[in-house]
């Protein structure tokens, strides 16, 4: 189990214990975290699980592959620290990870 904090753009936050091996998106969906839609179910085909990753955690994540970066172009208000949460696998190293959901997903 790894602690992941999901913040919304209003500053409300929820810290959850997410099972290692799940994606950050799945952790949100299973716990009904609002702000992550994941319409395509984790297939990197929709950009509705888009999150902003807290700067200090960015380098600790495996680099986004090209398909993910391309899909982020289609997200709502992408920034430098944008990632698709379906592509971030929860591991012990990510204990304490903070992600912020955008104002909206679509």
């Amino acid at each position: 189990m790894t602690k992941i904090t999901y913040k919304d753009n209003q500053g409300n936050s929820k810290t959850l214990e997410v099972e290692n091996g799940l994606s950050v998106m799945e952790g949100a969906i299973q716990n009904n975290v609002p702000g992550i839609d994941a319409d395509c179910g984790g297939g990197m085909a929709c950009a509705t699980c888009h999150v902003y990753v807290e700067e200090k955690w960015l380098d600790k994540l495996p680099k986004a592959e090209e398909a993910e970066v391309d899909m982020i172009d289609m997200a709502f208000e992408p920034k430098k620290n944008s990632r698709l949460s379906c592509q971030i696998t929860v591991t012990e190293e990510l204990d304490g990870l903070i992600v912020t959901t955008p104002e909206k997903q679509s």
Binding site: D39, C40, A45, D73, M74, F76, P78, K80, S106
Partner: protein, 337 residues
């Protein structure tokens, strides 16, 4: 009013295979889709990406799968209604009446909703002033390129649509291509053409930057963009073309009185019927315990749903399970000797 046995909403892989499963049972269907062609997500999201989990097809692209499905349902000579969104579903005794955005009306005892994750709509620019220019001087698609002749066009986006239109319109207008990253996503040929035009000064590329504001009263006069380092620039602009991809919206389906679970329609996994008798949901849009959003799940779902459709469309006939390999009736329907 067009009368048929089954109204299929959505021309993605599940909707197309629905035509087949209904057709071999002798049922007529019509297919309605909001997009301009068949294929759904396969065509819109991954036409060139390989799919590896279609049984007995080790590898095919979204486009190839769509073509094969269209070929498979050819014998049934089905009418497709593209560029139409189903707006209303109402009950008329044992039948359902469907009305589309083009005011076409259909009546049938069965509806199969194969709507994927909803209808595709262009992702819009989030600035609030964007709305007042929409369809006047700001567009999310090109209908008639002649309108842009001799004008200053700012194109946003980094994908195929943005690149293709930048190439095409740079022949007749002054194009600025703006993208939030330095990298563009397109075929090697398109990318080299873009580079060439830019080097010749026939196309201006501005990256990495984003749109900050749109200036102008009735018409757009200029736009302001901001570079990553914070520097801003004004670009003289008559028209904006924005290609930030498509988003999926569930749309009017939520208003038809169907039981929903988040963004999905709840169905009975025995026959994929919704809480409304004669309305079925298959493919990515339906949910039931254990549901997987796979193309092959959609195929299975419609095989079962089509049996229930038969019972409702032919209440006086008995449904007989048959194999395509041995049934003479099915072979006749497929036009095989």
């Amino acid at each position: 009013m067009i009368k048929t046995d089954v109204i299929i909403i959505g021309a993605g892989p599940s909707g197309l295979f629905a035509v087949h499963q209904l057709g071999i049972k002798g049922l007529k269907a019509v297919v309605i889709d909001n997009l301009d062609k068949a294929g759904g997500q396969c065509i819109e999201l991954y036409p060139d990406k390989p799919i590896y989990d279609i049984p007995a097809v080790p590898e095919c692209t979204g486009e190839e799968l769509t073509e094969k499905l269209l070929e498979q349902i050819k014998p049934f000579k089905t009418d497709f209604y593209f560029n139409e969104r189903v707006n209303e579903v109402t009950q008329d005794k044992e039948n359902w009446v469907v009305q589309t955005s083009k005011n076409n009306k259909f009546i049938a005892p069965n509806i199969i909703i194969a709507g994927g994750v909803g209808s595709f709509e262009p992702r819009k620019i989030s600035l609030k002033e964007a709305e007042k220019f929409e369809d006047k001087s700001l567009f999310y698609s090109v209908k008639n390129k002649e309108e842009f002749k001799g004008k200053n066009i700012s194109i946003f986006g980094g994908g195929d649509s943005a690149l293709d239109w930048a190439l095409e319109l740079s022949k007749i207008s002054k194009v600025t291509l703006i993208h939030r990253r330095n990298e563009f996503r397109g075929t090697p040929h398109t990318l080299s053409e873009i580079k060439k035009l830019s080097a010749q000064g026939k196309l201006s590329i501005k990256t990495p930057c984003e749109l900050v504001s749109i200036e102008g009263k009735k018409d757009i006069s200029a736009i302001k963009i901001k570079y990553e380092d914070g520097k801003t620039e004004e670009v003289k602009t008559d028209n904006i073309l924005s290609f930030f991809g498509l988003i999926m919206k569930l749309g009017p389906v939520t208003e038809w009185g169907l039981n929903m679970d988040k963004k999905h329609i709840s169905v009975n996994p025995n026959n994929f019927e919704t809480n409304k008798k004669g309305i079925f949901a298959i493919g990515d849009i339906c949910t039931y315990p254990g549901k997987l959003k796979l193309i092959l799940s959609g195929f299975h779902e419609v095989a079962l749903a089509s049996v229930e459709c038969f019972k409702r469309a032919r209440p006086n006939e008995k449904y007989r399970f048959e194999f395509t390999t041995s049934s003479k009736t099915i072979k006749d329907r497929l036009g095989k000797k």
